[in-house]
Amino acid sequence: MSGLAIRAAYVPLVDAAPLIVARELGFAADEGLVLDLAQARSWASLRDLLAAGAVDAAHMLAPMAVARAMGLGPALPPVEVLMILSQGGQAVGAAEALAQRVAGLTEPAPLARAIRAAGPARLRVGVPFPFSTHALLMTRWLGDDIDIRTVPPPLMAQALEAGEIDLFCVGEPWGSVAERQGLGRILLPGRAIWAAAAEKVLAVRSGWAESAPDTARALMRAVWRAGRWLDLPANRSMAAEILARPEFLSLPPEVIDRALTGGLGGAGRFVTFHEGAATFPWKSLGGLIAALLARRHGLPEGPAVMAGSAVFRTDLYRLHLREAGADLPGASQKIEGTLSHPTAVASERGTMILGPDRFFDGWIFDPLDG
C-alpha cells in the first residue's frame, strides 16, 4: 500500500456512480488509494467544499468548471477537469397540460416547434443549476428566449405541481418521479438533442493534480476502471444495488436500475460512463460548452472558448491513464457535432471508436473557428 488518500465530494445522483463504485468495489483500493466520499446536498455546496479545500476532487456539472474559467458566478479558486465522468442521463419533459398538447411527437425539431406554438410566449424551464448541461441543452433546443429557472431535482415534481415551470430537464430518476405522479411527461432523452451531451466531470482545484501527482493518478485510474465496469450491461443491477444504499442515494434499487438503463426508449444508451471514449476530456468539448455559455450570458465567444478549452486537461489524462490501458486519440480537439454513427479514429492502440456526437439540428462547433 502506498498510503494515498483523498476526499471527494459528490451530489447523490445516479451519475455519481463512477466515484461510488471506485470506492465500493475496490478499484480505489487496488490503486493504493483510500477514497473518502463526502455527500453534498447542492451544487453550490459541492463547489464551496472544493474551493475551500474541504475536499480535493468533486463530481461536478461540466459547465460549472467552464463557467468558473470564464469568470461567471462567485469569484472562487478556479478548477480543472481531469476527465469526463458521464455522458447523457438527462430527461427532458413538459408539464402534463403542455405534454398533452404536443403528444405523439418524438423528434426533437418538430417537438420544439410544437412546444413553441402550444406553450406560453416565454417558456419557463426548470433545470438543476444555472451552469448545467441541462440549461445548455434546453437553450440549444428551444432558443435563447426562455426563462431558465433553478429547481433542485427532488423538488422538480413540486415545481410542476405549483405551475412554476412549463418544461424541465433533469437527471433521472426525477423526471420519472414527476411522470409517475401525473404532473409531467418525459418527452426526450437529453441525447436526442446532443448525442454526446457531456454531463458530469471529475474536477479538482487548478494546480492540485500537479501538487499531488500520485494521488491524482490513482484517483483517475480507479474512476476510469469503475466507468469501464459500469458500462458492462451485466453489472448494471449490481451498480443499482450499491447506489441505492442509504449512505448513497437512498432510493429503491429498481428506480436506480431504470435510471441507469434508461427505461426511456430511444436509440443508444441513456447514460454512458466509458464507451466511445466518453471519458476523454476533449479540449473542444470545453470550448463547445464555453461557446454555449458565452451565448447564453452575452459574453464574447473567442476568450470564452480559450478559457474553457484550457481547463480540460487532456495532458493529464494522457499522462495518467495511458498505462491503465486507456486508448488515446491522436488529437486533443475535434470538430464537435459531425458524427451520426460510431466512428473509428486514429489512436495509440488503434482501437478507438468514438460515439455519435451530433446535435439534433446539425449544429457544428469547430474549435479553430473565430
Binding site: A44, A52, A75, P152, L299
Partner: protein, 194 residues
Amino acid sequence: MTRGIDILVVEPDPTRARAVADALTADGGCRVVILADVSSLARRIAEMNPDVVLIDMENPSRDVIEDLSLAAGPKERAVALFAPGGDTALMRAAIEAGVSAYVAEGVRPEVLRPVIDLAIAQFGQMQRLRTELEATRRALEERKLIDRAKGILMRARGLSEDEAYALLRKTAMDQKKRLAEVAAALVTAAGLLG
C-alpha cells in the same frame, strides 16, 4: 453604529431559525427576516432584497439562490458568496459550521464580519447537535440490521443468538469489514434468495 443590515435566514425549522435570528438581532441592530417556505425562493429573495442571505449548507434549495448571482448580469453579481474578495479561511469556517452566506455587493466588510461570525457560531451549534442525532439514528438502524441478520442465521443454521452474533463478528473481522456491513450483506442476500 451605522445603519443595521437586513438579513434573511432561510430555515424551515422554527426553533433553529429563532436561535439564529435572536443572536443576530441582539448584537447590533440587524433586521432579520425568517423564511421557512422555500417555494419560489429566488423570487421572494429578489422582492425582499436583503443584504445577506443565510442558508443551511445542507439545504438543497441553496442552488436556487445561485440564480440571483446572475440576475443583474453575469459580471455585476447581485449576490456573491461571502464578501467580495473570497476569504477562503472564513469560508472554510462557515462550511464546517454548515452555513452558507450570500452577500450583496457593496456591504462593507466591517459590518459584515461580525454577522458572519455570529452565524457561524449559531449554525455550528446546530451542526453538532445534528451530527449527534444522526449518529444515534445510524446506530439504531445498524442495531436493527444486526438483529435481523442474527435472526436469519439462527433460523438457517440452527444457532443460538450468541452463536449467531459470534459468527457475524468473526466474519466481519476476517473480512476486515464493519459488523453492520456484513449484516447488511446477509440481509440483502437472504432477501434475494427469498
